[in-house]
Symmetry: none
Subunit: 143 residues, 2 copies
């Protein structure tokens, strides 16, 4: 299970350290693609095929569905973690997610998300999430 929040920085060539705690769950090779809310998604190989399967079930007759599928598949890249624990983020994805130097990587269960750190902070400070809402959701989920 991918969890936690980590802050790291891109090196001059656009490489990023994969936090040690995420490495084991994600595997040597994994997939990153454009994500929602302005971040990038990263999937382990098994989770990716899982995700692909879901996309395949969408009706091709629906324009919305076609767009959705294109969005995720066109942006996908396979990444490999090098001996020093780093991986390269393709330049088009870097651009898409507005990445400069400071990066936040978060684990979200079945995937990781890679954020421009500023964006992530802002996202968190926004009242996206009120305590009441959280409490309500928690009781709904029975915790």
């Amino acid at each position: 299970m991918l969890i936690g929040e980590y802050e790291h920085s891109l090196d001059a060539k656009g490489r990023l350290i994969m936090p040690a705690k995420l490495r084991e769950d994600l595997g040597e090779k994994f997939i990153i693609t454009k994500g929602l809310d302005g971040c990038l998604f990263g999937f382990s190989q098994t989770e990716w095929t899982n995700f692909e399967e879901k996309l395949k079930t969408l009706p091709l007759t629906n324009k919305n569905a076609r767009d959705f599928v294109r969005f995720f598949l066109s942006g996908a890249t396979e990444c490999e973690i090098d001996k020093q624990g780093r991986f390269l983020i393709a330049s088009n994805l870097r651009e898409y997610a507005g990445m400069e130097k400071e990066i936040a990587i978060i684990g979200v269960g079945t995937r990781i998300e890679i954020w421009n750190k500023e964006k992530w902070k802002k996202y968190n400070s926004d009242e996206n999430i009120s305590a009441d809402e959280i409490a309500e959701n928690m009781t709904m989920l029975g915790i």
Copy 2:
């Protein structure tokens, strides 16, 4: 059943002693996450995996669901109690809960809560918590 109130202090590296009485119920490994009212929650593994399963079922396409999942999973860390009964609190969680040195740990049935001691005192002394009021609200819940 996790009960009681304990006061301890963080060491220089951000580690905290888990009160002996909570250890047996919580287990060697447990999960801490961002909690409500500015504290941290700690769950036993069984409580947590239960919760995780439910989070996994939430739809990726729903923004609210994404927000909720991000809040909990990005804020979660697995902790392990060392031979001396201590565990490390990740720095982002320490920051979130405003932890300095003096800490209060309390048992709340299915989970523990970890508080900055000052905050905890204040929270208790505030008029938001009078026993009478609480009692009154309880009757509404049918106790």
